[in-house]
């Protein structure tokens, strides 16, 4: 649905040019929910804005449903108005001088793809009903909460029946509880309509929950691309691993295939074809705490040095060796049952992340 070849975007800055995107290649299939995930400043928004046509790239090509909408070499640039997109912005960008209804209707009455006059109302109300905002049709937009405004923005972008729906951190202005609610709504509605989505976020839980596919970006490059499970279980680099969730790192040496010597002890893990120094990552979720030694593989003693109460869970800091402290999550009962300082950490060999040391 979206095909991007060698897209290059530069910004003119005071002392020359800043290359935000050196060369991006990307393919989004029809009906896919595609998430661009990356830290702040990694160029996600820039990429999205190039697809929208709000920013003009300096080279490369973009196809939208097999239609060439941008090409540096062929000097093609289709204006955003004519790309047939929908877009949801971080700031909602609902027009504050209009009602909910008018916001959704304006693109249908004044946009590039117009709808017969007698169909506008049905179309608007249907779009609003998708996000359960039809009751508020006649409300002035500034009288709505943030979550409601964002739902209006979603309805507005869907009502034009977009080829692709673009979203730039649509949830980041909402507070935590609303965020989950709107996130859920975005997922159901987009799946129901079957629209292709290109979604930008820097929040890994959002990416994992929403994406059919995720591209992790850093410094204007796509570092890894895959399904949420692929990414979570096999992050290509330590940076991706950290970005998708907390990781405890251990330095080690490969003793033989599948065996790594670490300050904690001898760890069994898939070393693939790595030899020499490695970096071993263990997610808190891959660690199980035992009150007593069971003799299982990859079980190491540790000493609890700090407990942080998080509500449903507690976070423990466990000293595993001289300079090695693990962060581990435990369910609340663990604490009640066991007051001892000493515990045993069992680490799931299959879930270990192993990288060459750098």
């Amino acid at each position: 649905m979206i095909r991007i070849n060698q897209l290059r975007k530069e910004f003119a800055v005071k002392d020359g040019v800043f290359t935000a995107l050196p060369s991006i290649d990307l393919n989004v299939e029809k009906g896919e929910f595609f998430v661009l995930l990356g830290p702040s400043g990694s160029g996600k928004s820039t990429l999205l804005r190039c697809v929208a046509g709000i920013d003009t790239p300096q080279g490369g090509e973009i196809y939208l449903a097999d239609r060439l909408i941008y090409s540096g070499a062929k000097n093609v640039f289709v204006r955003p108005e004519d790309r047939g997109l929908g877009m949801v912005f971080q700031s909602y960008a609902v027009w504050p001088h209009m009602t909910v209804y008018q916001n959704v209707a304006l693109p249908l009455t004044h946009g590039a793809k117009r709808v017969p006059k007698d169909k506008v109302r049905d179309r608007v109300m249907y779009a609003l009903s998708l996000v359960q905002m039809d009751r508020y049709a006649d409300r002035p937009v500034p009288h709505l909460s943030g979550g409601q405004q964002q739902r209006v923005a979603l309805a507005r972008s869907l009502a034009v029946e977009p080829v692709v729906l673009l979203m730039d951190e649509p949830l980041s202005n909402l507070d935590a509880r609303l965020r989950e609610e709107v996130r859920h709504q975005i997922l159901t509605v987009t799946k129901m309509v079957g629209v292709t989505v290109l979604y930008v976020t820097h929040d890994q839980s959002e990416a994992l929950a929403l994406g059919d596919k995720i591209a992790v970006m850093d410094a204007g490059r796509i570092i890894q691309l895959g399904t949420p499970t692929q990414l979570f279980s096999m992050p290509a680099t330590p940076m991706v691993a950290e970005f998708l969730g907390q990781v405890n790192w251990l330095k080690g040496q490969v003793a033989s295939a599948g065996v790594i010597d670490t300050p904690v002890g001898r760890v069994l893990a898939d070393t693939r074809d790595l030899t020499g120094g490695v970096q071993l990552g263990i997610r808190p979720s891959s660690i199980e705490l035992m009150p007593v030694a069971t003799g299982a593989a990859n079980e190491f003693p540790g000493e609890i040095i700090e407990e942080i109460f998080l509500g449903e869970q507690i976070q423990l800091r466990i000293r595993m060796a001289e300079d090695v402290v693990f962060e581990v999550r435990a369910q609340k009962p663990f604490r009640g049952r066991h007051h001892a300082k000493n515990v045993f950490c069992q680490m799931e060999a299959a879930e270990m992340l192993v990288y060459a040391a750098h």
Partner: protein, 593 residues
């Protein structure tokens, strides 16, 4: 439930937005905006080119020779009038700035930094001050302090049996004083944000660490705000330097010239033909000096931003308690109101009722009549009023239209040359407006083909009025546009709405408060505009202020006062509308009078 729609399907599309209007689809709205923005700016450049051209060609009115010459500049250098008027202009400017800044600055400090009661009323007095025409005030002061007929002087002479007038307005200092009284309102509007924005914790930090109040003022407050104050002073001096109304009303009759009035007598001489070459040369000098002041202004402004003091943050400054001094302050404010508004108004009413001007007396009272009102050429007044009202409607409308196009390009487009738009749109501020008037006259008379009837029409007035308003309009709109989240506009484009429709449906409604405010403000300024009109009018395109000016210049002070009263009465609904609209709104961006 209505049938669900399918992503990406195009079945219900009836028409591409402008499918039935191919031209617009081709232009896509944007080129049209670029054109709208470029049009006034190109004219600005043409007119400046005309002035420079006229100053270096031999004789534009005879049309005989158009070879390059520096003759006019030589004449200029040899003309004693130029030297005296240069000295006068500088002195006039200095007195104006001192008067305006000391009155405006103190009132601003009182309003922003003390617990003075009745601040709203002060605001009313000060903003209305910007709307009372300067020529009106100047006429009032002439009636009051003229060495021969001035009411005050006559009283003093009678009372103390003096041989000559104790004070006279008919000198450079007097002119500067009157101009300064008029510009005090602007000084107030420009300095009050400075006092408002000064972070009080800076002062508190100084007091807490043991500095006394005057030391705090000397070492902390003044160093922080002086760049902003200086910038305001320079801004006002740009206006004073090329001011026409006061020097014309007070100075011309007494043969005291400033640059502006020199240009006037050369282009509209009592006898002989206008010397356009000479006018061009004087204008070039004026342009250079004004451009220097503007350049200085920008340098100083940058300095004031560097300190980051003038940010308009919503601090809550600690207010200085005035106590009993409050009465003193209000007396001062009352005196200002008396001198700048009430006294001139009284003088004008009195003058309009008398056959010739004389002080209050029983004898004078017996001569009171409405004769001045009956002998007025009402046909002329009516024509002037009609032309003025045409301008009052079209000038703000057109300047907003052009201004919006320019601001949109400067703030929102990624056009490579957008800084040029910004830069040129500032020229009408840096270059005195009378220059544009002179240039337009020369352009219409000598450069346009004779068959084009442009000279002497309301359209030529309209053109120059709009041009001189562009700077203010774009500056205010730039600020207002920057306040609007860019994503609101992007959202429109992405959902398929084209540039023109986006401007009209999204941006204009969001800018509406600023637009209305600017519209009325510009309408008022066009209503009272004398300078530009005085240089350009003929019998046909005469405006109301020029009728007043013509009568005054012709020595018919009584009739002139009568017409100016009509003028002021007609102003009332406009001012009322302005006040109704701008109540509550913060008018930080100070317009240029």
């Amino acid at each position: 439930m209505v049938a669900p729609f399918v992503a990406g399907k195009d079945a219900t599309v009836v028409s591409s937005a402008t499918g039935h209007w191919p031209i617009v689809r081709h232009l896509n709205g944007r080129p049209f905006v670029f054109f709208l923005a470029a049009l006034p700016l190109v004219i600005v450049l043409i007119l400046l080119g005309v002035i420079i051209d006229v100053s270096v060609v031999d004789n534009i009115n005879s049309g005989l020779s158009t070879s390059f010459t520096l003759r006019h500049f030589k004449t200029l250098l040899g003309d004693p009038l130029i030297y005296s008027s240069l000295v006068n202009t500088v002195e006039f400017t200095v007195v104006t700035v001192i008067t305006a800044m000391s009155i405006g600055g103190s009132v601003a400090w009182l309003v922003e930094r003390t617990d003075l009661p009745g601040k709203r009323l002060v605001y009313v007095i000060m903003t209305v001050g910007l709307l009372v025409p300067t020529f009106f005030m100047a006429m009032g002061w002439v009636f009051f302090l003229h060495p021969r007929i001035g009411m005050f002087n006559r009283w003093m002479m009678d009372l103390f049996s003096l041989d000559s007038a104790p004070v006279s307005i008919a000198n450079v200092v007097g002119m500067g004083w009157v101009e300064g009284l008029g510009l005090a309102s602007m000084a107030f509007m420009m300095t009050s944000p400075i006092f408002k924005a000064l972070n009080p914790s800076l002062e508190e930090a100084s007091t807490v660490h043991g500095l006394r109040r005057w030391q705090t003022l000397r070492y902390v407050v003044l160093p922080l705000i002086w760049p902003a104050l200086l910038a305001t002073a320079i801004y006002i001096s740009v206006i004073a330097f090329a001011a026409f109304e006061v020097p014309a009303i007070i100075g011309l009759g007494n043969r005291i010239f400033t640059f502006a009035t020199v240009v006037y007598v050369k282009i509209a001489p009592d006898t002989g033909i206008p010397n356009y070459g000479f006018v061009g040369a004087v204008s070039v000098v004026l342009i250079v000096l004004s451009a220097f002041l503007s350049w200085w202004y920008f340098r100083v402004i940058r300095l004031s931003h560097r300190y980051g003091v003038i940010q308009g943050r919503g601090y809550r400054p600690k207010l200085v308690p005035l106590g009993n001094k409050m009465w003193l302050c209000w007396s001062g404010l009352g005196l200002y109101f008396l001198m700048s508004k009430l006294m001139p108004l009284t003088m004008m009413i009195w003058a309009s009722l008398l056959p010739y001007f004389q002080p209050f007396s029983v004898e004078a009272l017996s001569q009171i009549s409405l004769a001045n009102f009956t002998v007025i050429d009402w046909g002329l007044v009516w024509r002037g009023a009609r032309n003025t009202l045409t301008l009052v409607f079209w000038v703000p409308t057109l300047s907003l239209m052009f201004g919006l196009a320019i601001s949109w390009i400067v703030v929102r487009s990624n056009l490579r040359g957008r800084f040029l738009y910004d830069w040129i749109s500032f020229l009408p501020h840096a270059v005195p407006s009378l220059i544009f008037a002179v240039a337009a006259v020369i352009f219409a008379l000598f450069i346009l083909p004779k068959t084009v009837p442009f000279y002497g029409t309301v359209s030529i007035l309209l053109m120059v009025f709009v041009l001189v308003r562009i700077s203010l309009v774009t500056r205010v709109l730039n600020g207002a546009l920057l306040q609007i989240n860019r994503e609101l506009e992007d959202a429109a484009y992405v959902s398929g709405i084209r540039t023109l429709a986006t401007l009209w449906k999204v941006i204009v409604p969001l800018l509406l408060p600023a637009i209305l405010n600017l519209w009325i403000w510009n309408a008022l300024l066009s209503y009272r505009e004398l300078t530009v009109a005085a240089f350009m009018v003929t019998q046909d395109n005469i405006t109301l202020p020029v009728v007043v000016w013509g009568l005054w210049n012709g020595g018919l002070a009584g009739q002139s006062a009568a017409v100016s009263l009509v003028f002021v009465v007609l102003l009332i609904p406009l001012v009322a509308a302005y006040w109704a609209l701008r109540t509550g709104a913060d008018f930080q961006q100070t317009p240029r009078a």
